[in-house]
């Protein structure tokens, strides 16, 4: 089977995956509990988690009959992905600030 490795910042381009990632930054979650927190189906959450896992951002483990996901504590990938989002938001807000000022001045 062919697999695609997705870069972390691409994986976090999707708002639902970003929401899942931010939940996982709080603490580890079981798939079913995550699905209960978000307005998406459990199969959709599983699919998003698979993308995050393939991107090296999260790891999973089995606990009884539940599967627990958490951010990958080993890699720098999760930090990089988060900072990528951080600077995206900062620069978008910066652009708005710069261009708004010009309107005010003119």
């Amino acid at each position: 089977m062919k697999t695609y490795r997705v870069e972390g910042w691409t994986a976090l381009g999707d708002p639902t995956r970003r929401a899942i990632f931010e939940r996982l930054a709080e603490h580890p979650w079981a798939v079913g509990d995550l699905a209960g927190e978000l307005p998406v189906s459990r199969p959709a959450v599983s699919q998003h988690l698979k993308v995050l896992k393939d991107a090296g951002l999260v790891v999973d483990r089995r606990a009884g009959n539940r599967r627990i996901y958490q951010l990958d504590p080993d890699g720098v990938g999760a930090l990089r992905a988060y900072l990528d989002q951080f600077w995206s938001r900062a620069l978008a807000a910066y652009k708005a600030t710069v261009e708004q000022r010009i309107e005010e001045d003119s």
Binding site: E7, G8, W9, E22, R23, L24, A25, E26, H27, P28, R61, Q70, L71, P73, D74, V76, A78, L79, R80, Y82, L83, D84, F86, W87, S88, R89, A90, L91, A92, A93, Y94, K95, A96, T97, V98, E99, R101, I102
Partner: protein, 158 residues
Amino acid sequence: MTTQATGTSVLKSIVVEAPIERAFSVFTEDFGSFKPPEHNLLGVEIAETVFEPREGGHLFDRGVDGSECRWSRVLAYEPPDRVVISWDIGAQWQIETDLEKTSEVEVRFVSEAPERTRVELEHRNLDRHGAGWEGIRDAVGSEGGWPLYLGGFAERVS
């Protein structure tokens, strides 16, 4: 906005409709107005963010109670072309005092037209923060072994 990612850095580029001098001055003087609000290591609300406009200066947040948090050093200040700041925030979402474990952010301003500027941002050497992660992981154990750094962010988002 364009994005590239390499192993240990984040690269961003954005074009703003403003002259290069304004693009530079807003980025430095108004940093506090556009940085994401969860970027706060103080225990209280931030009253202002100060960007000291000189090499050797600091970026610091001042809380409403007067407390201060210096989370960055100005490594290069070359208006209107370039500014480099350090990222002195450690893996436990605390000020990193070991400068070997800090990363840095370079911002370059390139004039594309009299009223248009491209801003290129590179946050590099992220692996330097990684040095502390192993110890944290061991301390926290596998059960809660997520990066506390991100947990700190997340608390402030929510």
